[in-house]
Amino acid sequence: MPEKRRFQASNKVLVVGGGMGGIRAALDLAEAGRDVVLIDKAFSIGGLMTQLDRTFPTNNCDLCTLSPHLSESGRQLHIELMAATRLTNLNGEVGRFKASLTTEPRYIALEKCTACGECARKFPDEVRFTPGLDHRAPTCMRYPQATPYAFSIDKGRCANMEEVARICPAGAILPDDAPKAQEIEVGSVILAPGADLFNPQVLGNYGYSVSPNVVTSLEYERILSASGPTRGELVRPSDGKRPKRIAWVQCAGSRGTQAGSVPYCSSACCMFALKEAMVTRERFHEDIETTIFYMDMRTFGKGYERYLQRAKNDYGVRLVRSRPHSVEPVKQPEGLTGDLIIRYVPNTESRVETEVFDLVVLSTGFRVAPETKELALKLGVDLNEHGYARAASLDPVATSRPGIYVCGVYESPKDIPETMVQASAAAFNASKDLTPLRIVSEWQEELPPERDVASEDPRIGVFICDCGINIGGVIDVEGIARSAAAQPQVVVSEAIGHGCSRESLERMRNVIKEKGLNRVVIGGCSPRTHETLFQDTVRKAGLNKYLVEIANLRDQDTWVHLDRPEAAAAKAKELMGMAISAVRLAQPLIEHTLPMNKDVLVVGGGIAGMTAALSLADLGFRVYLVERSGQLGGMAAKIRRTLEGEEVRPYIFDLIRRTEQHDRIQVLKQSMVVDHRGVAGMFKTGIQMGPRMFYRELQHGITILATGALHHRPDEYLLGRHEAVTTQLDLEAILEDQPEIVKSWQNVVMIQCVGSRTPENPNCSRICCQSAIKNALKLRQLNPEAQIIVLYRDLRTPGFQEDYYRQAREQGIMFATYEPEDKPAVEANGQAVTVSFTDPILGLRMKVNADCLALSTGLIADDESTEDLGTIFHLPRTADGYFLEDHIKLRPIDLPIPGFFVAGTAHAPKGMRETIAQAQAAAGRAQTFLSRDLINLGAVVAHVDGDLCAACLICVRACSFGVPFINDEGHSEIDPAKCNGCGVCAAECPAKAIQLRQFEDDQILAKLDGLLERMG
């Protein structure tokens, strides 16, 4: 707990910005035993993601996925969370920065506030439960699981602070609170300030300031959200009617040159719009027509192409390729109807069409806030021409100032998974600037030994919180305590006031010791938020932390029955009865631990594998790097330049040299993985190596898979059968090595999406659009006269790659769309090939004699090796053969089995820059394991009673994680290190031989007894 914290000077990291990126970076650092100060200018952390209703591509609700992270963040010992705080200055240098911080007054003491909401109910205008998001609904709460879970007061609107102070039952109001300035020492800094969303008021033609029924995509998200201003009712702002026809207008303020627009692409809006349209269709079925007006559908992320297909084919989302010219209110003689008319020129026509909609959603992109630009200026961090932090193309999270790293949208517009990758990469880089890792156990609190209670009869202590008036104002807490006292084996039962306050916790600890209690029941708020706190408390009193049970008297009783106090009191007694019955059967549980083997296995010696290996070896870990071929370098060794023009080969050669010479890296070439066993921290993997296939067993603690993907060469468009037909990768080599040939070309055609986005290979290969543009620009430079035509389906140059696409158009490179149903045709014509395609605007078939036809063939999963490795390591793969991560949104580097991480194109097609970021991130995630001496595996795991087990295999089949197996003794065994603790096997087991710890059958039945037995 905070008073125990002993920060070392300059051995912590300052993380600026508490959005998803900042939280991930802080958690990674904390898990690696590093101290973090996490600041955010808002009154609670969470950033943009907390405002979303659902996120792509899973369409899950965010609260479920995000809130555990927030409370995780709130209770991490190593994280000091400072809300309403800004970085105002940074002196010194890497390793020895002095950061000046200023904290706004909250006027509420965080340690006393119980978030009961009394103040907000009495003074709704003056008290913020985090600021209102939607300017159209200023009182809506931003999201219900705010961290810190406390309110703040807007002093500017508060006439009488004393009055607010009087109604606060916890006495938490601080009328004289003032801004606080402080200086802290940090070793490195991570900038994760995120970005604002564009305010489309400046766009005159889209009617945002004219009609309330033109909303931004985030406002629409809030309309859909259960915690939003309409509580999830889909109604349009002007008249509260359910809209029937909704249009999304993409690139509102992005990819434009007109006033108020930015030239870059915001990267996430296409998926965002598809998600909103799909959720709308899903929730309201056929009632609502959804239309998306777009320029290019940029669904380039992992699995996003399938998402697009689902939107189109399964959900009936209508896609219109066109950038609308205007959105205007429909005017009738009797006035405005609230409806909107969209004028647009379809891609295939040259005349203006009009269509009427009930609601128009503008897909507005990211903008760097002026405040963030000022901060960069103060910090001496270079910005690019768009105001984003400039990071080198092959060092994606390093800013221009050593010791300052960047992640998330502030580096370039991106979605959440990529933000998570960069956050872990930034955390890793930031930790390298600190003093070398010390042993984490030094930092653990000194706890008294656990008392052995196995032979004792239960001696139960009951403590009931009043939570101010939240519980105490509805039911008679003393009365509940008296009735609990009458139950068998209850030794103490008392009301404890605010149970979570420091004094009450101390009292509980003392009572436990004095009365020799061995079981504790708390009647209070939700165990979701407070279980760990009370577990800590009983542990500090010398009891195993699993000997406490919480009855949720607040969130699930007094708050929901406050108008029926008698019913609430009766229910409270029943809830207490259930908890007391269950706690009698609670057993001390052991959290399984294993000693950590700190060696690392990296499979794959390409750019991802080498980067990860070097990153960890530089920190002092021993790394085995297993490479199937005879040389390091992988696919990146074939690439010559990045889109930005940086030479790749010197970079790769340097990487190879450093890897081969590093005294902590053992490079095992011509080697393959053949077998594997063990759990994270003690893996054993068999390798066959060298031309003679010697067998060797490696012992290691974690595994990083970086096996890459393959350069795709589909049998299409005469590839491999005509000398004029080549791939983008091979064309790049020609451009570099044989410029004289290039100068003789008159016509060059490029075809995009060859062998990608097809039924056989549904993923977008992601790298091909930028490769085509890179090669086209180089070609134009070598041969200004040549005609260059790019035939594409959607041009996908997200973020600042858009700049190069624009350059290419400006330089006269021609771009024409084709439909997958009407693909270009290619036939040999002497030394050239004739390419015919349909001109989308004229509708005519065109023919071009091309001296060179470059096919953008992209990547394809290395199905053979991922299948082998997937089988050997028991790792799941996607339908198209890439490794499947643990959580596509929040954990894009961790694989579902603890201790496995993935980096590079083995995860999904991606560019070099993203690959390097992911490799650094994998090293960072690995570090969170490797920094510990022991691995804590938790206690809520399934356990088999071998005597009862009939080895029927039902558990083996039921487990979604493939954990149970039949052991040598002929019964099922569940490895606690692998068990996820869902309890499915326990429920399925016909012999009841399996029990889930903490949720054993007799504990659940005891709850039923506690509830029902007195009723018989």
Binding site: D53, S526, D563, R564
Partner: protein, 146 residues
């Protein structure tokens, strides 16, 4: 029978339904106090025996509430629970207690309103069905023995 207040047991998964119930609290929604929640890590943990025992011990209705389809924290525990529940329903129909006394609901953690609505609707349904016949039968059996 007019004063019949059904006793309802709701098995709620930690990640979704239990959180939704907490959210109903923080939104101060109202639902009948008849519903008592038992928290489980996943609805996949809820065994037929937990449902049957609840009825045997005198609950008038039991429901299991888990994550939306596809949202299960443990991949597919909710669909397993739904399958098991269908089996229990049939069993209850067969022995004359009536499968309609048990139900499965899906909701996300953000759906406080759905939690409250579900709790109200289910309570009303059980109220209409009347007391659990097992209770009466047990009472008679006890009297006969006594």
């Amino acid at each position: 029978m007019e004063n019949f207040e059904p006793v309802i047991v709701a098995y709620c998964c930690h990640y979704c339904a239990y959180t939704a119930a907490d959210m109903a609290g923080s939104m101060r929604l109202r639902y009948p106090a008849n519903v008592k929640i038992i928290r489980v890590p996943c609805t996949g943990k809820v065994d037929a025996i937990h449902i049957m025992k609840a009825l045997e011990k005198g609950a008038d209705g039991v429901y299991v509430a888990g994550c939306l389809e596809g949202d299960c924290h443990f991949k597919n525990g909710n669909t397993r629970a739904a399958r098991r529940l269908a089996y229990v329903k049939k069993l209850l129909d067969d022995i004359g207690i009536g499968g309609e006394r048990v139900e499965m609901f899906l909701m996300s953690a953000g759906m406080g309103e759905r939690f409250a609505q579900t709790a109200s609707d289910f309570t009303e349904k059980i109220r209409t069905l009347g007391p659990n016949p097992v209770k009466a039968a047990l009472g008679e059996a006890k009297r006969a023995v006594g």
